[in-house]
């Protein structure tokens, strides 16, 4: 494999997606406004309905806790969603079918799409953190620990990508998943946003929801980022690091396996039904 050539292709895919973002430039503006309004609402909620118990565990105020959670979650949602979205997009726009006639591997196309989808997500995360700190006085922890927190976040994102590959594999291999994929993805997004510790600590959840939460690498990542920011690398519990790595690796391995099988199945089944595909049988 020619690495230079693959990198060049990935760069071109990223650039083409950036061009697309700029076509819808007002979309980005609205997204930023959305975040600012969202933070304002959290601010007022907590100003008038103060927590009885300040989240001392992570050395943060409730507002900082939520903003940091949402900022981290923004990147993790992208990590989980981007690979699936890339496959979904190329399948339904029939791009995958066309790429399969070229010398480019579909995986190269997916990776290009995943990288480009992180760019707006990084903007979102920074906007959360900066807006919270500048306008609402949020303090996320000790700034000297930012490096280790960032490293944890990168590992967490890589592990969460495994979930994305797994979902993309399910999309390719299961026509049933494909048909209802939008609803399933909305549900998974809602679950991971609400129950992985972005808005409140996972420990307050009932045990059975907590058990499901700990299947996802996002839960470990959010908690580890908080601890890293507050207390540095020495505070990171090994069981949580292990959980993150195991969860991410399992998702990634199973995901790659079913994605490969799924792409074969798509080639076997075809992308669309033939012209006489839908007939009405009168029994």
């Amino acid at each position: 494999m020619n690495i230079g050539r693959v990198c060049r292709k990935i760069m071109i895919f990223v650039l083409s997606d950036i061009r697309m973002v700029f076509v819808f430039q007002f979309g980005l503006l609205f997204q930023i406004l959305n975040i600012v309004i969202g933070i304002a609402s959290y601010y007022f909620v907590f100003k008038y309905f103060l927590f009885n118990e300040v989240v001392t565990e992570y050395n943060q105020t409730p507002l900082s806790f939520i903003i940091l959670g949402m900022a981290t979650n923004s990147l993790l949602i992208t990590a989980m969603h981007s690979f699936y979205a890339a496959v979904n997009n190329v399948y339904y726009k029939r791009i995958l079918e066309k790429v399969l006639t070229t010398t480019t591997s579909p995986y190269t196309l997916f990776i290009g799409s995943v990288i480009s989808s992180f760019l707006p997500s990084i903007v979102t995360t920074i906007t959360y953190l900066v807006t919270g700190a500048v306008f609402f006085g949020a303090r996320y922890g000790n700034l000297s620990n930012a490096g280790i927190a960032l490293a944890v976040l990168v590992v967490g994102v890589m592990c969460t990508l495994g979930v994305g590959v797994f979902l993309a594999g399910l999309f390719c291999i299961s026509p049933l998943f494909r048909q209802s994929s939008n609803f399933i993805m909305t549900l998974i997004n809602l679950f991971t946003t609400t129950f992985t510790g972005a808005m409140f600590p996972v420990r307050i959840l009932p045990w059975w929801i907590r058990a499901i939460s700990y299947l996802f690498p996002q839960t470990y990542t959010i908690e580890l980022v908080r601890l890293a920011l507050a207390y540095g690398s020495s505070s990171l519990p090994l069981d949580k690091i292990g959980g993150l790595l195991i969860s991410g690796t399992v998702f990634m391995l199973v995901g790659v396996f079913i994605l490969k099988k799924g792409l074969y199945r798509i080639r076997k089944e075809g992308f669309v039904l033939p012209e006489k595909g839908i007939t009405l049988i009168l029994s």
Partner: protein, 353 residues
Amino acid sequence: MNSAVEVRKISKYFYARVSVSGNSPNWLKKLIFGASLSGGVKVSKIKALDSVSFSVKKGEVFGLLGPNGSGKTTLLKILSTALLPDEGDAYVFGYSVTGEAESIRKLITTNFSLIGNPYWTARQMLEYWAVLNDEDPGEIKHRINGVLDLVGLSERADEVVSRFSMGMKVRLSLAASLLIDREVMLLDEPLLGIDPVAAKELREVIRERAREGRTIILATNMIKDVEEMCDKVCVLYKGRVITVDTPEMLKRIARKVENVHITVRGVSVKEMERILNEDEVLDISLLRRDLETGRASFKIRTQDSVYILDKLLSYMKNSGGKIISVNVSGPTLEDVIVELLREERDREYWQGV
């Protein structure tokens, strides 16, 4: 190797979920799917290709001809490795579509593969397509100008593609396939919606590629494409091969039936029918009769026009009648294809009965 492309007993099935009406639908299905689709669902197996075999020589222009749903596009997709066959295999320069797809992708170019953002210009689309096909970026800019010129889009090269008409998009797709210089070109309806003058020029462009040694397989519904471009044609009907032959041979097979339009003077209709009461005459019909001048025009369907005309000339010589004009026409390729498909439909009908 003699064959550039060899298709061996390829079959392809599609599975479609079909609604079955007539059962009593429950209220939930009715609510979700509506009354017409709430009876039940069955999986129906549709045979898109049925044991299709043929071979294409290097440098040949090979046409796939048939009505909609006959399996032309499915076959092209299999040859382009986007789709896998359920039975049989196909080989492109010896590489199998089922097992060696990556090797085949280095040998083929298609016109059904143009990808890109509709907000890009024609030039940007072609650049992107060239990257996907690992073309040399240094050389590609020059070649893009060349192919845009060939398909008549050089003046629109920097225009956004979403503003293009259907014909222009078809031209751009053809430009994409010409841009990637490979051994085998797979073209699906390459001239669909293109005006006749431009179509004639583009047919010559495609023929030129074949003269340069490229093998071309094209699916089309246009008889003109086949007549002007193809060395060989495969007629498909409902996934089956009806015949594979050269356009000339197809016409020759059907030439057993000829149409003779003849205008005579001094011969009555009854006499004409008596003279031509021969096995060679399949049908004789009076087209026009002028009582003042005594002229009559006939259309004769015959298997041997020379014999018929010889007999008429002998009769005229003795009777004093005169032949005013004669026009003998053989069947066009269109007649042949229509006849072949009609025969196939009849055969299918009688099998059903």
